[in-house]
């Protein structure tokens, strides 16, 4: 096995650049090193100005999502050795404005996430249980996979619909919204549906499915959006056929 590998790292300095440029760095190739380890080696030993986000190094925090050789990856879970003989091209996530180097601005997602109310909503005056809410394993199973989302934004980067229409609510926000709709303790699905069923909500999704392919936690946001479409259609028909029963 070679003892070195080259990384081509995307660079953007708002003070002087108008577009991305690439700097090449040669790093030691250790058998168990991830792309994130190589980036940290570059920052510590070769070029302290290289900027990127990272935190847990174990695929939990969702901070280190980047595009590695054209594909969205958590760099803490991506082995250097899988890209031999190199070079490895590391770019910031697509579809988000680049702040500096490999750091993107996630404000748009944060605004959308808040809009879909990803928390348990109880109706005013709804009786509170005397002890904790109980859930059966079956009730947990309906939403568990959606709760595993770590907000790493790989799905938004891989979604061409979001790239073409930034108003689209997007995969992760939809999955997290559905996660609470499916929770047996929640009573806020109508409030979320009001947001999701708008024209820039779930209907923009064209079922390409790449969001689910790139998800490192095996969440299926594409399925969430399609399940949401079925719910929205049912609600629309219910409202049409029984207007007196709606809200």
């Amino acid at each position: 096995m070679a003892d070195k590998i080259t990384l081509e790292v995307a660079r953007f300095s708002p003070e002087r650049d108008d577009a991305l440029r690439f700097d090449s760095y040669e790093v030691p190739l250790h058998e168990n090193w991830m792309v994130l380890d190589a980036l940290n080696y570059i920052k510590d030993q070769l070029d302290g100005s290289v900027t990127f986000r990272w935190s847990c190094r174990m695929g939990i925090c969702g901070s280190c999502g980047m595009v590695v050789n054209g594909h969205e990856r958590l760099t803490c879970e991506t082995l250097l050795a899988d890209y031999l003989p190199g070079p490895i091209r590391v770019e910031p996530l697509r579809n988000f404005p680049v702040v500096r180097d490999l750091v993107v601005d996630l404000s748009d997602f944060m605004e959308k996430l808040e809009r879909v109310k990803p928390w348990i909503i109880r109706q005013p005056g709804a009786p509170e249980p005397e002890r904790e809410f109980l859930q059966t394993p079956e009730q947990l199973d309906t939403f568990k996979q959606y709760s595993l989302c770590i907000n790493c934004m790989l799905c938004y980067s891989a979604c061409p619909v979001y790239g073409l229409d930034p108003h689209f609510i997007g995969p992760a926000a939809s999955a997290l919204s559905l996660r609470y709709n499916l929770d047996s303790r929640d009573q806020g699905s109508e409030q979320r549906l009001d947001v999701m069923a708008q024209h820039d909500g779930l209907w923009d999704c064209t079922v390409i499915g790449e969001c689910s392919v790139v998800c490192p936690k095996h969440v299926d946001p594409s399925l969430a959006i399609q399940e949401y479409k079925i719910s929205a259609t049912k609600a629309w028909f219910k409202n049409l056929l029984m207007p007196w029963g709606a809200k």
């Binding site: 790239g163 790449e210 399940e227």
Partner: protein, 135 residues
């Protein structure tokens, strides 16, 4: 409230026109959507055929002669390929679009897809029986 700190310049990347060539999933999606044009063509041809039948044997004979020309045979073979692709691509999406639950448990991918293929096979068999004069 407006921020007191001026927002630094950001780099907004534009999607290239050839974005759909970058990944197999994107290309598959574009092919799936493109195949809708052939489905529409098939519907138009069917409507023309129905109109020809309703106009009498002479009209239907000239429709058949038109369909037998080499150009139309090639066009219709291409159409058949795209319509089959369109059908299979949507069947392939079924387990990606719904997860029916039986007795509270999720059905498997195979069990979710199977009804579509079974109904397709039965419908094709029934139509084939009509064409071959079994009924």
């Amino acid at each position: 409230m407006p921020s007191a700190i001026p927002h630094p310049k950001q780099y907004h990347r534009r999607m290239p026109l050839t974005w759909w060539l970058e990944r197999w999933n994107y290309s598959w999606f574009i092919l799936r959507e493109f195949s809708s044009a052939f489905v529409a063509y098939w519907v138009v041809i069917t409507l023309i055929e129905i109109a020809a039948i309703s106009n009498g044997p002479q009209s239907y004979a000239s429709f058949q002669a038109w369909m037998a020309t080499p150009v139309m045979v090639v066009v219709n073979i291409i159409t058949l390929i795209f319509v089959l692709f369109h059908t299979l691509s949507w069947f392939r999406l079924v387990p990606q679009a719904m997860v029916p639950r039986i007795g509270g448990k999720r059905t498997s991918v195979v069990a979710t897809s199977a009804p579509a293929y079974v109904i397709w096979a039965i419908a094709s068999a029934v139509i084939a029986c009509f064409i071959l004069g079994v009924f």
